[in-house]
């Protein structure tokens, strides 16, 4: 029987990794990811799992270390946040280009400066084009489920790509939630040992990370792009399998009271749950509002997004990061470009919210909905704006 326990989500993330039969992990601690690093090292030190926990001197080393281990056929894990993820940046595109399955948790935190340890999405957005599969979890249950799913997705023989699972720092990582842990035997059945495509072994030498001259580089890049785009079908298959075994459904684009909604808001991560309450309140007042929550950031689920917003008159895209000097937040830019060729498309507004741990409570979401609705009624065309910024 599955157990339901009250547990801090960061600890639960490490517990979920502990259920995945990993061979090794290399994690450098950084707030707000530290509890994952600490608890996973405890799980290994206590002998609860048979795995190596490698002490590394930096995030550049942790990602390099697990990638090398992945090349030998090992099941590997790391976790990071903010500046740590930025320090990994040089290695991230190499991992995906080498088609090495690794799983990494990112406890979303603002990047410097000013120095800030609190939650937003400015750490993951600069990694957008690194060629990784990128997920966002909304709550603790999703963190546990998606951690387990991520290994299966990354290692699938037709995927072979690194996966980054984002969970909001503090809002998720340091919150105690009621979480249902799946049965270990069922997890073992869902996630059998890795069957690598090739391994680094002296008995059967192969080369990984080779030189690609001008004659082959562009073909290599297209092959990698297609691998990432094609990974979506296997992600969907694995989510189907998860639903059959564990009863919880996962979709690239989740919706909440969105089917008949004239006004939709798009969120990523834990703020979606707060926005749901605002949707309920406004629905009670008779406002036709709903929510679209993006779970899969890369490969971007264009078809699912188009289907979710096709009947809406207004789409409010929330961003938790800034693209300085750009035409809006990174999510807004992607969504707007994705809908450009549609004959019928909603008016799209962009609110940059919740930067560096700025709280966005239910009344703020209500205010955004109402303010945007009034502007849309007047037919105002506008690009991004910072919500709640003084001055």
């Amino acid at each position: 029987m599955a157990k339901r326990v009250g547990m801090e989500v960061g600890i639960a993330a490490a517990e979920a990794v502990g259920m995945c039969n990993i061979d090794m992990a290399a994690v450098y601690p950084i707030t707000p990811q530290s509890h994952i690093a600490e608890h996973l090292s405890e799980i290994v030190a206590d002998g609860r799992i048979d795995a190596e926990f490698v002490l590394v001197e930096s995030e550049h080393s942790s990602i390099s270390c697990i990638s090398g281990a992945s090349g030998t056929g090992a099941r590997v894990y790391t976790a990071t946040s903010s500046q740590g993820l930025l320090y990994m940046h040089e290695i991230l595109p190499i991992v995906s280009a080498m088609r090495l399955p690794v799983v990494m948790a990112n406890a979303n935190r603002a990047i410097s400066g000013p120095i800030n340890i609190w939650n937003d999405h400015s750490d993951i957005m600069p990694q957008r084009d690194a060629g990784w599969i990128v997920f966002f979890a909304d709550n603790g249950q999703e963190v546990v489920d998606m951690t387990i799913q991520s290994f299966k997705i990354a290692e699938h023989k037709d995927v072979m790509l690194p996966v980054c699972l984002n969970m909001d720092g503090f809002q998720l990582t340091h919150t105690v939630e009621l979480i249902e842990f799946p049965d270990q035997k069922k997890v073992d059945k869902f996630l059998p040992p890795r069957k690598p495509f090739a391994t680094l072994h002296p008995d059967n030498p192969v080369s990984m990370g080779t030189l690609g001259m001008p004659e082959i580089y562009a073909e290599a890049r297209k092959a990698q792009d297609m691998a990432l785009i094609n990974s979506k079908q296997y992600i969907l298959q694995i989510w189907d399998e998860w639903e059959k075994m564990f009863g919880r459904r996962y979709n690239p684009v989740e919706t909440y009271r969105a089917d008949d909604a004239e006004i939709l808001m798009l969120t990523m991560g834990s703020m979606g749950e707060t926005a749901e309450i605002a949707v309920d309140q406004l629905r009670e007042k008779g406002m036709s509002v709903g929510l679209v929550k993006l779970r899969l950031w890369r490969p971007f689920p264009f078809e699912e997004l188009k289907a979710a917003v096709k009947n809406a008159k207004l789409l409010i895209v929330t961003d938790r990061a800034v693209s300085f000097g750009g035409s809006g937040g990174p999510v807004y830019i992607e969504v707007k470009a994705g809908l450009y060729h549609e004959k019928v498309r909603p008016l799209i507004y962009n609110y940059i919210i919740g930067l560096g741990g700025r709280d966005v409570p239910v009344p703020s979401f209500v205010e955004i909905f109402e303010e945007a609705a009034q502007a849309a009624e007047k037919g105002v065309v506008k690009d991004y704006e910072y919500y709640g910024v003084r001055g």
């Binding site: 280009a97 080498m98 088609r99 090495l100 072979m160 495509f197 090739a198 030498p205 192969v206 080369s207 990984m208 080779t210 030189l211 690609g212 001259m213 001008p214 004659e215 082959i216 073909e219 290599a220 297209k222 092959a223 297609m226 691998a227």
Partner: protein, 96 residues
């Protein structure tokens, strides 16, 4: 392993550009991007072999007559052989 046609298409390329057999450097022709190639004037050559010694790619070899040539499949056109050849027997010629 089945021999592939070079250069491969994006569909036939190995995942992650992995090379799945050992001892393959010989089959990977890396000299395609040179801008100049060395040409020997054998009448000036004194067969000292300094070109052979200095070639950083190791692609200069001695033939049966004791004369030297570069394997253009690997030569990058760096011109070190021509620079070092003190009798001036090597000219760097622009690739057509």
């Amino acid at each position: 392993m089945k021999k592939k046609k070079w250069p491969e298409t994006w569909r036939t390329i190995n995942p992650g550009c992995m090379v799945l057999d050992a001892g393959n450097a010989r089959t990977y022709l890396t000299g395609s991007w040179k801008a100049e190639r060395p040409e020997w004037d054998d009448s000036k050559c004194i067969k000292c072999g300094i070109c052979y010694i200095f070639c950083p790619e190791g692609c200069v070899t001695e033939n049966e007559d004791g004369l030297f040539r570069a394997d253009l499949d690997y030569c990058k056109g760096c011109g070190i052989c021509a620079h070092e050849c003190w009798p001036g027997a090597i000219n760097m010629v622009e690739e057509g």
